[in-house]
Amino acid sequence: MTDATPRPGAPAPDPDLLYSEDEEALRAAVRSLLADRCAPATVLAGLESGSAHDTGLWRALATDIGTAGLLVPEKLGGHGASAREAAVVLEELGRSVAPVPYLTSAVIAVTALLGCGDGAEVTGPLAALAAGRTIGVLALPLPTAPGAPPDLAVRAAADGTLTGRVTSVADAASAELLLVPAEGPDGPALYAVAAAAEGVRTETVTPLDLTRPLGHLAFDGARGRLLATGDRARAAVERALLTGAGLLASEQLGVAEWCLAETVRHTAGRTQFGRPVGSFQALKHRMAALWLEVASARAAARYAADALAADSPDAPVAVAVAQAYCGPVTVRAAEECVQLHGGLGMTWEHPAHLFLKRAKSDELALGSPGRHRNALGPLVGIDAP
């Protein structure tokens, strides 16, 4: 052993893993809106209508309640809250598999813009995103993980025209503003492109998770406005991916919570062999084990949100831990939900499949659990052979 062997960094000394009264009030407002507007049957019906997202629900959530501006400082048109509050919103959206571009626009795109300085080319779009007037997305494939510079599929010419194709971008079809990481003449750069601009084409994909639409973006000489270059561009994209991955854990927690609650409700009421099936140990032990995993996922997700909110040096560890843990737990919760509903869980009519599809898609989003574990190794001094 050499003295240079890295040791795990210290966790933040006093993380707050609970919810404040303000956070609970925000949760109540979002939950009440979703109860009215986003019941599972409504989500199912909406998906079959073919619309990319529920625009009425988005306006109520983003603008009326004001959640789109949580991460944006007040002087830039937002509410000056933090990742902790955005995490609470995502928990609720997960519990409803709500088809709205919150993670992509209000978290990832907003965080990318916040890393680009305070020029007018940045603050204008940022204020529009914060108010929920505009939907923006970071043009990278949904599985892109933080921790390593992403492969750039788009090239920028000296005149700011972009060429290339980015696959599997979440909420691409809803987006009006595209934030495009591109390889410029002087290295990596970040550009803003209007989705409606000439030379931009969106090909929709049939996604596994219908509640989070995907699209391929093709740029053929599209004109972009330069937002940042070099290290600043790289750091803005990294911070956006890190924040997205860390807060995705809260969405996953919400998905898992719904699955567990629904499974408990169903098995407690369903009678076979003259007893509620939830009274059989073979089933109740599975649900109890799941409860423990969901409770653990909550601690992991809360720590990631708190570390991001505090800009803690431990945030990369907190996010990698939350992502390595919460993805598989949520998939298991959804799979158990389908199995313990028996034949009902296999029907299109019952919403369990919406949660299963979201859980599996979320597991791949922003880096698979294996990628996050591998990213964690060097951060905590457990190097590969």
Binding site: M1, T5, P8, A10, P11, P15, D16, L17, L18, Y19, S20, E21, E24, V264, T267, A268, R275, P276, G278, S279, F280, Q281, K284, H285, M287, A288, A289, W291, L292, A295, S296, A297, R298, A299, A300, R302, Y303, V321, A324, Y325, G370, R373, N374, L376, G377, V380, G381, I382, A384, P385
Partner: protein, 415 residues
Amino acid sequence: MTDAADLRRRTAALLAAHPPAGTDRLDFLRARFDAGLAWVHFPEGLGGLSAPRSLQSVVDAELTAAGAPDNDPGRIGIGLGMAAPTILRFGSEEQRRRWLRPLWTGEEVWCQLFSEPGAGSDLAALATRAVRDEQHASHPGEAGGDWIVDGQKVWTSSAHLARWAILIARTDPAVPKHRGISYFVCDMTDAGVEVRPLRQITGEAEFNEVFLTGVRIPDAHRLGEVGEGWKVAQTTLMNERVAIGGARIPREGGMIGVAAEDWRARPELRTHDLHQRLLTLWVEAEVARLTGERLRQQMSPTAGSGRAGAAPAPQPGPEGSGMKLAFARLAQQISGWEVEFLAEDGLAYDDWTMRRPDGVDFTGREAGYRYLRAKGNSIEGGTSEVLLNIVAERVLGLPPEPRTDKDVAWKDLPR
């Protein structure tokens, strides 16, 4: 309200009046207890100041820095973790004053006489009998006579060192099993108490069998009402589950720290498969640490300020069962990983000699011992299967298993 600054002042005063360098260890511990700095969340006069439990760390840090002696908590864990909270909650003022001080200083070691050969997971089926001796009371003037106890207990750690035991015994066999139990404090020096070592798979005898033959217990040593021992025992058991697996640990504390240090120290043994599995276990151990931390924040009385739904919960709830489940599973998986990682060294064992250790250290000795000792973690203090039932029924509210013995007098149960 006692705050951190106040505790620092009190600790400084204690250190000034009893400088650790020139004070007898026991005198210092007694003075610390009397100053209310033993367990600050206990009431005044009983070693505490009714302060938030979380402030104990302030006192501990100051005392450690000053080189003050501690009460060797590993040796008196049963007393601190299980007997003390039960005595505090159910004991009379006289009982609390008699027992808590020497318990905390370690002058009197405690053990727990609960499990029996025929009552493990189904603890309430216990058969040890306590019969009233109406003719004789050890304490003159006492309303009732003494209790005469006969039976056999098992899995009793520290019985060979103990001065006192917390004991549950059947006082009424004619009612259903949960209702006929009473809770006592048993004098381990009574002539009717026989302690025999019970050797376990590690080779050592950390536990004992205890045979009780005509043991006389004065009625003044009963905790709680006659027939309500099961309720009293719940307090002990909930605290036990928090004591096993509920300790506040730093990142990489406990078994995962041992495994991570092995990984760093022995690069020649590394494989990709072991690397992937270690990272998975590291993540799970870190999440378990955070989950325990979150549970502590929820239980902390200071959680009320500025937070919703955080009413103080002075006693650990069924959620504590969840922490113990996670702790046991991780300890077993990590220690199994370690034996495998160590390859040839994993094939060797340090020592099979029969010994009677004073305490237990789950991460002590060598990999083989850790692996074998961890097997007990999912059995002791409630098996993982029973804990899953507790979580399913009390946390999730799932319907209970049909219980055929619930309304049957204990004496009529099949055995």
